[in-house]
Subunit: 210 residues, 2 copies
């Protein structure tokens, strides 16, 4: 369901603890809203098995990444274990200016940076129905050992403390209900008076002076 044509796109930031099901919700969201541009991050780490360039990440050299930093082309970036990870401001700005909604999946520190630089960004935090359920889902993956899982749960606790920085809190008790809530949030954001007034300026100016 594509919303009515806007003059400027909405920047949507999605965060949530590892294991909450962000990827599944995002896939469902993008299948419902094919007009949304999903921003792929840049990284200097090498691709893992199954990771395609431009899909999982844009894989670039350290020199290329530092060039983007020098040219101030990044909305946010961070360095983990000698590798850079970041979001290109340039592409996002072009899309937003063309009226396209842009979705970023980003961790809490990056989200805080984005919110500071783009106060109009719509920031959504996804949580599981209960913390026990998060633990159950992480154990259910059966790919990580107990120490890794405990590390993820500890990190989740730290992320929970940042929830007040977000605009919306979506509970992922099912992919369908979480997706429906996000679709509603995006629809509602498009109905905000400040978003819609420019769209209907002709109707209003023909009638009165606002």
């Amino acid at each position: 369901m594509t919303p009515k044509k806007k003059t400027k796109g909405t920047l949507i930031v999605l965060s949530g603890p590892s294991g909450v099901g962000k990827s599944t919700v995002i896939a469902e969201l993008l299948s419902e809203r094919k007009d949304i541009y999903f921003s792929v991050s840049y990284t200097t780490r090498g691709p893992r098995v199954g990771e395609a360039d431009g899909v999982s990440y844009h894989f670039v050299s350290k020199e290329e990444f530092e060039g983007m930093i020098a040219r101030d082309e990044l909305l946010e970036y961070a360095k983990y274990v000698d590798n850079y990870y970041g979001t290109s401001m340039k592409v996002i700005r072009e899309k937003l200016d063309a009226g396209v909604d842009v979705l970023l999946e980003i961790e809490v520190q990056g989200a805080a940076t984005v919110k500071r630089k783009c106060p109009d960004a719509v920031c959504i935090f996804v949580i599981p129905p209960t913390f026990e359920e998060l633990s159950r889902r992480l154990h259910g993956r059966a790919t990580d050992d107990e120490q890794v899982i405990q590390g993820r749960l500890e990190r989740a606790k730290a992320e929970y403390r940042q929830i007040p920085l977000y605009d919306y809190l979506v509970i992922n008790d099912s992919v369908q209900s979480a997706t429906r809530e996000i679709l509603s949030i995006l629809c509602a954001e498009g109905c905000r008076v400040d978003q819609r007034l420019p769209m209907i300026r002709n109707q209003i100016e023909g009638v009165t002076a606002l």
Copy 2:
């Protein structure tokens, strides 16, 4: 579709020019969200043919109404042509405290009063797709003469100037799309961090200190 249980109801204010189709949209909305309490106004004017007490209005005497004013029981009221019209604060407060969402259909001056007294109220203005369409709908009714219609259109222009006081602008190009937009707005408002944090306090307090 009933939203997740909230600790406090949302006060929803709906306005829009005469002829925009508010009643039809409200009927559709209430059929989708049977949990919403639609607040019926109080008036001292006598019932017209087909108007039932407690449905169209609560019909009360001038003494009863002035008693409500004296006891500060009204959220907003106005006097038109020697008759009072107003909204009972008492009933609305009880419903909101019980976690029930309350819908008011109210004109722009009343909406401004409500927004001032209840800043958390979600104020939605409904407009037609074009102003010409509003004129066409008013003429299509075939119940009012041209002078009455022109009066309504003039009043609509004055109301348009108040749009910036509202939170959301819904375009009624079809009952279905307008209703869908309002449902999305209410769903999104229920997902706001300040609304949801109390709901999930147990989950969060079990995990961290917010």
